[in-house]
Amino acid sequence: MDFRLTDAQQALRESVRTYLDDAHPAALLRRLDRDGPDPSIWYGLAKMGLPAALVPERAGGLGLTLAEGVLIAIELGRANVGSALVDTALVAAPWLARHGDIGALADIAAGTRRIALAHPINPWIADLDQADAVLTDSGLMPPPAERVRLQSIDPLRELFAPLAIAQANDLLLNLAALMAAAQMLGAAERMLAIATDYAKIRKQFGQPIGAFQAIKHMLANVAVRLEFARPVVWRAAYALQHEYKQAPAHVSHAKLAATDAAMLAAETAIQVHGAMGYTYEVDLHYWMKRTWALAGAWGDASFHQHRLDQAIVGGLMPVSPAATFLSEDKHA
């Protein structure tokens, strides 16, 4: 039992963060909003090796686990990187690895194949225009010839009308919900940082507004929610990686906790900014809108609440002080 990030995990997080701070700053979000998608971003991320992260070594990847995937997704959320990388590298790659599709995995590792995710739980498909293939319940299929574009509240999100998919795929849903939770943690961290920085420089009544207890306590509440959402997301990653029977419930817990933290961070950050927060002038709105999108994506609160409720109140999962890390509930 050792619930810490390893040195290698911390180094991975640092290197992704350092790269994104430089290559994916807030100024880039404004430019993408104005000029539309920029293909060079994908090539930069591919050069960084991120598409290969969760691809098994035998397919030319780094063979990292979902725990590292979550760390990467947190950084992608913090930098507000578009969803194509998460969907391809952190959801499709582990799904394909479990289904043994080595050919597709090698292309993902090389950064030459982008995959959009189709699932009946979402009334849209993200980034279908950039996709080389679509992942469904039955595996990869070519993208449709015709696409209908949908409008998202998030100006940096490219959405298209859903494809007719009959079967729901739990693994796809769980992987994507986990990574949505991780991205929301990153977004929450960023929104807390933006609001905290603003509270330090904005002056009223002759002092920074961050010196007022009303502001301090609001921001402290966000810090607390975030602090206690993080380990929930990491545990879900571990449980899903190890195929624990309770992994779906843990993923639902992670999605609910991260949504809660990110929505609180968003509402608090806009309140701290006052009227400025209600404008398009401050960058805050990019993270808020990504949060609103991810909150409903890959199972909304009702879906995950219901699933967790069945596990807890419905008695599908042991509930006791000694049950936190029950390993005997592993799949055979």
């Binding site: 330090k200 920074p208 449980a239 509930v319």
Partner: protein, 381 residues
């Protein structure tokens, strides 16, 4: 990241579980720790624990402990609460004064104070708050004036849990009468039966009188009872307060057990309000999140890290969780919630009353939020 127990950890869990199964049943449903009879029954339980060498599991063996690492401590606590073992009368000693003496005490003080604490022979209460020094603890006025090899203590402490029945008190006293605020305070230990010490019980919300005010009228205490250097009391007290808010005082298992009982209460209700369903699930989620966070912090400390202002986040989280779980239980009990007598119902009502103290004691949650804002987020003071 390795979230599986080793075979040794699993075997340790089985050992604790077996001991609890043998010893807890004769100590079930004790009267309130805040009453005379309840206090005595809880001290008897402390001695039972000590006889099995389960009293101070994280302490070094030479002081009566088992030298357990924090992961095993968490396992011990999980089994403790799983078995519904009684509340710890010795809590101030185990989690607050014990670690403080180990960190700041002399060898002689360790030998003198720790083993009797471990054996459950001396139960300690805290002497921090004063009538005009609550959240603003640096406003302490009680004085300890040096007279040869003694201090002469005068003043008043208040809101001291278990002081009505405890044996000794540890607290902060102003040893430099000219000093202001955080300076000139010293950390001093004294017996409550010393001449010049008067304990006056305070009746609490639930009607019992475990709390007390302590009056000092020229009580004489030898200088060997001071922990750390004269004038260093504030730093020592801050370390003690860190233990209190931080990892050890409120083990997650306690809240997980409450969440489990709440789930069971919900299941037994024939027609619960839909909103309560979400509250119950949320209670489990937050208790679980607190446990996961504690495992993370414990792993970090085991690897040589330290806990800082994050301790304040813990305190906010568990105290508000505890209150919300008990409030939900009262909603589920409905009209039966007010009836005293049935132990199951009374436990929820007493638990709710006690949970209302959680956001106040050990530094009110307003103070904790200031600490988080200033020391974690770096907002201006």
């Amino acid at each position: 990241m390795d979230l599986q127990y080793t075979p040794e950890q699993t075997a340790f869990r089985a050992e604790v579980r077996a001991w609890m199964a043998d010893h807890v049943p004769s100590f079930r449903n004790l009267p309130s720790l805040e009453s005379r009879a309840g206090y005595d029954a809880h001290v008897a339980w402390e001695r039972e624990l000590a006889a099995g060498n389960w009293g101070m599991v994280t302490w070094p063996e030479k002081y009566g402990g088992r030298d357990l690492d924090l992961i095993r401590w968490l396992i011990f606590e999980e089994e403790y609460y799983r078995a519904d073992a009684p509340a710890r009368a010795n809590q101030n000693g185990i989690f607050l004064l014990g670690p403080t003496i180990m960190e700041y005490g002399t060898d002689e003080q360790k030998q003198r104070f720790l083993p009797p604490m471990a054996r459950g022979e001396i139960v300690w209460c805290q002497g921090w708050s004063e009538p005009d020094a609550g959240s603003d603890m640096a406003a302490i006025r009680s004085r300890a004036i040096r007279d040869g090899d003694h201090y002469v203590i005068s003043g008043q402490k208040t809101w001291s849990s278990r002081a009505a029945y405890a044996d000794w008190c540890f607290g902060l006293f102003r040893t430099d009468p000219a000093s202001q605020r955080h300076k000139g305070l010293s950390f001093i230990l004294l017996p409550l039966d010393a001449p010049g010490v008067t304990v006056r019980p305070i009746r609490q919300l639930h009607g019992d009188t475990g709390f007390a005010e302590i009056f000092f009228d020229e009580a004489r205490v030898p200088i060997e009872n001071r922990i750390a250097a004269e004038g260093e009391g504030w730093n020592v007290a801050m370390a003690t307060a860190g233990f209190e808010r931080g990892l050890m005082l409120r083990s997650p298992a306690r809240f997980q057990r409450t969440a489990q009982r709440l789930v069971e209460l919900f299941r037994a209700h024939p027609n619960p309000a839909p909103g309560l369903r979400e509250t119950v699930t949320k209670s489990w989620m937050d208790a679980e999140a607190y446990a996961l966070n504690t495992y993370m912090v414990a792993s970090t400390i085991e690897a040589g890290g330290r806990i800082g202002a994050e301790a304040s986040m813990n305190k906010i989280f568990w105290s508000e969780l505890d209150r919300s779980m008990h409030r939900a239980a009262l909603s589920l009990l409905g009209a039966a919630a007010e009836l005293r007598g049935d132990p199951a119902t009374t436990a929820w009502l007493d638990g709710y009353i006690f949970s209302l103290a959680g956001p106040i004691y050990a530094g009110s949650n307003e103070i904790q939020r200031n600490i988080v804002a200033e020391r974690v987020l770096g907002l201006p003071r």
